[in-house]
């Protein structure tokens, strides 16, 4: 079943076209990794999916509903179904880990407070932070903060989670704990779109990999094809640079 579909999506900042005619789709339960050089439009594409950016051409559908920033209720509904995890975590610094996770369930979804707090506590335990529920983000390491952010995304009971380079801002020794949590989510069947430079993760976890270059989608296929036998010379070039040989 198709959860997210993009057809002929175009996006430009002024005259600068950053997404050029991109079409692809994400099925329920699928893990899609989005790779490509810096400035190729990976973040922009991800942000278009949950309406943090608007797009000028084509169509993005989530559950068959068009992503349209002008439709305020529609876009909020889509955002509660498609959560986002950011490169720089973006936790709310004035709230505890628990409050960060419970914020959406309580104030956006109107879940009863006690229930939301209990569920949030479980989610934090699930990302290995049972002992940190009362800590503020400033008291946590980058890896811990990103795990709180993942718990916050899960708190919305989303149909899919979008990750924008979730480990790029982390010290190398903290990358593993975050990827570990993401792997277990994938194992449990969560639908995920992951922008990443972690090729090991893409190879092991992704069902499909797409390669974006200059806003153009150049490859779309299973990891063993895209990462091991890329067709396009630009992909070969990119992989040669990023993979230690």
């Amino acid at each position: 079943m198709t959860l997210i579909s993009l057809s002929n999506v175009r996006k430009s900042y002024g005259k600068h076209e950053v997404i050029r005619d991109v079409s692809t789709s994400v099925d329920k339960g699928e893990v899609l990794c989005l790779i490509g050089p810096s400035g190729s439009g990976k973040s922009t594409l991800l942000r278009c999916i949950n309406g943090l950016e608007d797009y000028q051409g084509g169509e993005i559908l989530v559950h068959g509903a068009r992503v349209d920033r002008k439709d305020r209720n529609g876009i909020r509904d889509i955002r509660t179904r498609v959560s986002m995890v950011f490169q720089r975590f973006n936790l709310f610094p004035h709230r505890t880990a628990l409050e960060n996770v419970a914020e959406g369930p309580i104030y956006v979804k109107g879940e009863p407070r006690a229930e939301a707090l209990e569920r949030s506590t479980e989610l934090l335990a699930r990302v290995g932070l049972a002992d940190k529920i009362d800590a503020h983000p400033g008291q946590l390491s980058g890896g811990q903060q990103q795990r709180v952010a993942i718990a916050r995304a899960l708190g919305m009971k989303p149909d899919a989670i979008l990750f924008d380079e979730p480990t790029s801002a982390l010290d190398p020794e903290l990358v593993g704990e975050v990827l570990g949590v993401m792997r277990s989510l994938a194992d449990e069947g969560m639908t995920m779109v992951v922008v990443t430079h972690e090729m090991g993760f893409a190879r092991d976890v992704a069902d499909r990999v797409i390669f974006l270059d200059g806003g153009v989608l150049l490859e779309d296929g299973p990891p063993e094809e895209v990462l091991v036998r890329p067709q396009n010379p630009r992909t070969q070039d990119f992989l040669r640079r990023i993979l230690p040989s």
């Binding site: 949950n50 943090l52 305020r72 909020r76 509904d77 955002r79 509660t80 959560s83 986002m84 950011f86 720089r88 973006n90 936790l91 709310f92 610094p93 004035h94 914020e103 959406g104 104030y107 956006v108 979804k109 503020h136 400033g138 952010a149 916050r152 708190g155 919305m156």
Partner: protein, 218 residues
């Protein structure tokens, strides 16, 4: 020194009547400029073009006019337009308007100091603009805005003395009248200065306390 104290005892009761009006005008000016400033700041960051343009122009225009002239305008020109205000009301309105651009800039810079990622994270869990402001941006912006807000409050207090130019018998006017009838310039103006200082110190202390208590929950 003894001399000063005995004279002070003599003049203080008269000056205290002025203090009452100074506090009244200052408080009124605070409240009005704070409310106007918030509205202007929200208009500015609303992302709605016309609102943000109106706010921007208002700030430029009003900030470019001396508070004294604004006061004169309200007290002397408004009656010609059919709006007569008492001197105290005109002073409060004038001070409130004259300081609203400063308040607006204080609040706006507080809001804009908060990383964009905060509102994006809030939007991405389905919050609307109002909730993003209330639950995420403002609680953080307030900490940034407090110190400049405190200084603006003290400026309002000091500029409340402008009310004396439109016949409000505030502390500065009482001082002036008393001095010109007694020729005790040194004693009286020293007292006036000390009284203003005595009013600004609690403001400073209150602000310091607020800043600290907002920083506590960490």
């Amino acid at each position: 020194m003894l001399n000063f104290i005995s004279k002070a005892e003599l003049y203080l009761p008269v000056l205290m009547q002025g203090v009452y009006l100074t506090i009244l005008v200052t408080l009124g000016g605070f409240i009005l400029s704070t409310i106007l400033g918030m509205v202007l700041a929200f208009m500015r960051v609303s992302g709605i073009r016309p609102l943000s343009a109106i706010s921007r122009v208002y700030v430029i225009v009003v900030r470019g006019i001396p508070a004294l002239v604004t006061l004169f305008y309200i007290y002397f020109v408004f009656p010609d337009l059919g709006l007569s205000l008492t001197a105290v009301h005109a002073a409060i309105l004038g001070l409130g308007i004259a300081y609203s651009p400063y308040m607006a800039e204080v609040f706006r810079s507080g809001i804009e100091a908060i990383d964009n990622g905060q509102s994006e994270a809030a939007l991405s869990i389905g919050m609307g603009w109002g909730m993003v402001m209330r639950r995420v941006i403002l609680p953080q912006a307030i900490k940034v805005a407090l110190p400049p807000y405190g200084s603006t409050m003290i400026m309002v207090l000091k500029d409340s003395s402008l009310a004396s130019t439109i016949t409000v018998a505030d502390l500065s006017l009482q001082g002036k009248l008393l001095a010109s009838s007694t020729f005790e310039n040194t004693t009286i103006f020293t007292l006036v200065a000390l009284l203003y200082l005595a009013m600004s110190l609690p403001l400073t202390a209150f602000n310091g306390w607020l800043e600290k208590s907002l920083r506590q929950p960490r």
